[in-house]
Structure formats: C-alpha cells, structure tokens
C-alpha cells in the first residue's frame, strides 16, 4: 500500500519538511537501517511467523479431529439383549420428546430434542415443498444438508434416524 510510504516518511525523516507523496513500487526507503551485527538470521521473523502459523493450524486440526471422534467401535460387539435395551431406550426418548415427566438426563433430553427438531423440520420442509412450488423443494433438501456440511455428520445421522425412528415415533 502506497499509503504506508507516508508512515516511513513521517517516522524516519522528521527533518525533511516536504514529504513527497509519490506513487512508486519502491514502498520503503530503508532509511538508516543497518544490517550489521545481527545475532539471528535476517529473515528470522518471516521464518518464525510461518512456522508458528503452520504449528497453530496443525494443532487446531488435531483438536478438531479429537472433538469429532465418535465412541469406540467395539460397541458393535455388544450382546443382543443389551442392544435391544439400547434400542428401546433410544426409541423411548424419541417417542416422548416433549414430555417432561420422564426421568432421563437433562442433557440427553435437550440433545435428543434438538435432533428431533432437525428431523421434524426436514419433514416439515418436505411437506411445505410439496404444497408450495416445485422450486424450493430441491432447495429445502439441499439447504438442511448443506448447512451442517462442515460438521459432515448430519446427513448420515438423519438418514439413520429417519429410517429407524420416525415410524416408531408415529406409533
């Protein structure tokens, strides 16, 4: 930015009264910058900055990967009776999302409610789309699938749930 030339003019040359304003590729007069007696490499800020940035991005990636890890895969090997128990409790949670008299943990209720809202809103949109014009129908499907694309999970979640739960919920 050529405006930055004004800074170096003001800060370096107090003596020169007419700080010329010029358009120039040479943005910087290095002025009285001496390169003698440097202890570290002269590009050390550049190298340090980029290395720091790379480390930060990699660190962020690992933190996010840890956050998105699911439970251990060995849960697939659970006994059939135990599986049935899980299944029933899961269905029960979704069968009664709005009742408050049930005793399951508050967090599970909140989360199942939000997922329930998700399913319902998608169903809601499909219905609206059928009533309305043709145009939005495509969009409502893609709309809800695009927004959480960054999480990357919800399409699969939703399909599992719609396959598994909604018929039970209706009953």
């Amino acid at each position: 930015m050529s405006a930055l030339r004004l800074i170096s003019n003001r800060t370096s040359q107090q003596a020169s009264s007419n700080s010329d304003y010029t358009w120039d590729y040479e943005y910087y007069e290095y002025g009285p910058v001496s390169f003698e007696g440097l202890k570290a490499h002269k590009y050390s800020i550049v190298i340090g900055f980029w290395v720091g940035l790379a480390v930060f991005v990699i660190f962020m990636f690992f933190v996010l990967t840890l956050l998105t890890k699911t439970g251990a895969p060995h849960q697939d090997n659970a006994e059939p009776s135990e599986k049935r128990f899980h299944m029933n409790s899961f269905v029960a949670d979704f069968g009664r999302p709005l009742e408050s008299g049930r005793d399951f943990s508050h967090q599970m209720a909140e989360e199942s409610q939000s997922l329930f809202h998700f399913c319902i809103s998608e169903v809601d949109h499909m219905n609206k789309a059928k009533d309305g014009q043709k145009g939005p129908s495509l969009e409502s499907n893609t709309h809800f699938q695009e927004a959480p694309r960054s999480c990357g999970m919800f399409e699969e979640d939703l399909h599992c749930l719609t396959k598994f739960n909604i018929p039970n919920f209706v009953n």
Partner: protein, 293 residues
C-alpha cells in the same frame, strides 16, 4: 524524489518483487470467479436464501480486495508512463479511497465469515425456528448494517492514517473474530460428536470415521486458509507502525508484495471452499455455461 542518501549493506533485504503478469492473472481470476458467483445467485431464484446472501457478501469482499490490487497496479503503471502526476492532491485522495477499499475488503471478509458461521450455528441449534429467526429481510438488514459499519471503520482508518489508536484495534479485531468463529464451530462439533455417539450405540449403524474427519478437515481448511492469507498482511501493518527501522522488521516488510498476492489467492480459494460446495450453485453454473454455448 526524496530518497535519502545512505549506503546499502550487501546483506540488505531487498524488496521481493512479484512479476506483474502473475499479479494480474491472480487478480483477474479472483474477480471473475467471485463475479460468477454473484451472477449465479442473482439469476437463480432458488438461491435467494440467507445462506447464499452471506456467501455473496464474502464474494463481494473478495472481489474488492482483488480489485484494489489491480487498480493500484494500473495506477502505478500509468504513473510510470507519465499519464498521471506523481505529486497531486487528486492522486492522494484517490490513494486514500483505494486504501479504504482494501481495509473494507478485509473487514467485509471477516464479518462475512462470521455471518456464515452464525447462520450455520442457528440452523443446527435452532433448527425448528430457523426460518423465523433468519428471514430473508433480516439477513439483508444484517448485511446492510455490517457493511455500513465496515465502511465507516475503513474510511476512519484511511483518513487517520495508521495512528496507533487505529492500528491496535484493527489487529486485535482480526484474531478475536477468528477465535469467535472457531468457538461457534467447536460447539457444533461437540453436538455432532454426542449425536454420533448415540448413533454408534445403535445396532444397525456403522461407525463413520470417514465423515468425522471430513468436518475437521473442512473447518481446518477454511480457517487455515483465511489465517494464512491475511495474517501476514496484518503483521506487516503492526511492524510498519511499531518497528520500521529494526532490521528484522525491515526484512519482514520486504516481502510485502508476496503478502498482497496471498490476499488475492484467498479471493480465489474462498469460492471453492464455500460457494462451490453447494450442489445447487454448481448446477446453476452448469446451466449458465450450457446456455451460453
């Protein structure tokens, strides 16, 4: 010209020059790509949604950044060829206007990313009420307020030329917004993880490790790209204000043109990671190109 007399050391850091052809190619590519997105959103009625308006806002800010660089290069070339005077009031005003355009582009990018993240957050956590919370009109009002605010700040910064009082808030705003966006997405990830755990406990599901990685990779890419493209320039402004005579700082400032090119690369990459991931937008592009043939 007012170049002071001093003897350059042999070990001096000379300006790293980016060839003009590279500069103009990158800038033109950025402008064209973002213009395409704007045209596609305007033409397709299905894309008149808050989410796409925020993506358009990002496209506009990217376009402004590339446009600024292109115009600046053109003016410098005109000056060298002698068509424009080097010392002039008009040129100074023009330069101020263009600097404010650049700052506007940076602020617009940050706020657009924030708006996109907030929109996704509301979609996930307030799914049922999303269409009441984020109506089309509200999205447009939010964008109008944000852009007015950014315009005000950029004009103030350009006019009050880099006093410390403007530089410091500017450099604090940048990491603060990034941190806030990161928090929003982390919260979304935590919800996704807890849901995934519940799904994994079902006997009929298989554990989707692949899609778990996808979310982390996507988020790292778009935050990482934004950081890598803009942070060098922000550091440059800091160093130019606080240590212009330090040799280390001067060596960092010598790669200024590379930093500018990085910003224009951001304008090219952003559409790929935001806009082109939408199947509806991609199909609109295909239609546009088939119709034109």
């Amino acid at each position: 010209e007012n170049i002071s007399d001093f003897s350059l050391n042999i070990t001096d850091c000379t300006q790293v020059v980016v060839p003009e052809e590279v500069f103009f190619t990158v800038a033109a590519a950025g402008i064209l790509e973002n213009l395409l997105i704007l045209i596609a959103v305007v033409r397709n009625k299905n894309l008149h949604l808050p989410m796409y308006f925020f993506i358009c806002s990002l496209a506009i800010s990217d376009m402004l950044g590339s446009l600024y660089k292109t115009l600046e290069n053109i003016f410098i070339i005109l000056c060298k060829m002698g068509y424009l005077t080097r010392h002039g009031d008009f040129e100074k005003k023009l330069d101020d206007a263009m600097d404010s355009m650049f700052i506007l582009s940076l602020l617009g990018s940050i706020f657009s990313l924030l708006a996109i993240a907030a929109d996704r957050y509301i979609t996930i956590f307030y799914a049922l009420r999303y269409h009441n919370i984020m109506t089309l009109r509200r999205a447009l009002v939010i964008l109008a307020i944000v852009w007015t605010f950014c315009a005000g700040i950029s004009i103030a910064i350009a006019l009050f030329s880099y006093e410390a009082a403007t530089v410091i808030p500017f450099t604090i705003l940048f990491p603060l917004m990034m941190f806030f966006i990161l928090c929003l997405y982390v919260h979304m990830f935590l919800l996704a993880r807890s849901h995934a755990k519940k799904i994994a406990s079902l006997p009929t599901s298989s554990v989707h490790h692949r899609t778990n990685m996808k979310g982390a990779v996507t988020l790292t890419i778009f935050l990482g790209v934004f950081l890598c493209c803009w942070a060098p320039f922000v550091l440059h402004i800091l160093l130019a204000r606080f240590c212009p005579h330090n040799p280390y700082c001067a060596c960092y400032m010598s790669i200024f043109h590379v930093n500018g090119t990085l910003i224009m690369c951001n304008a090219i990459i952003n559409p790929m990671i935001f806009a082109f991931r939408s199947p509806e937008l991609r199909s609109t592009f295909k239609k546009m190109f088939y119709c034109s043939r």
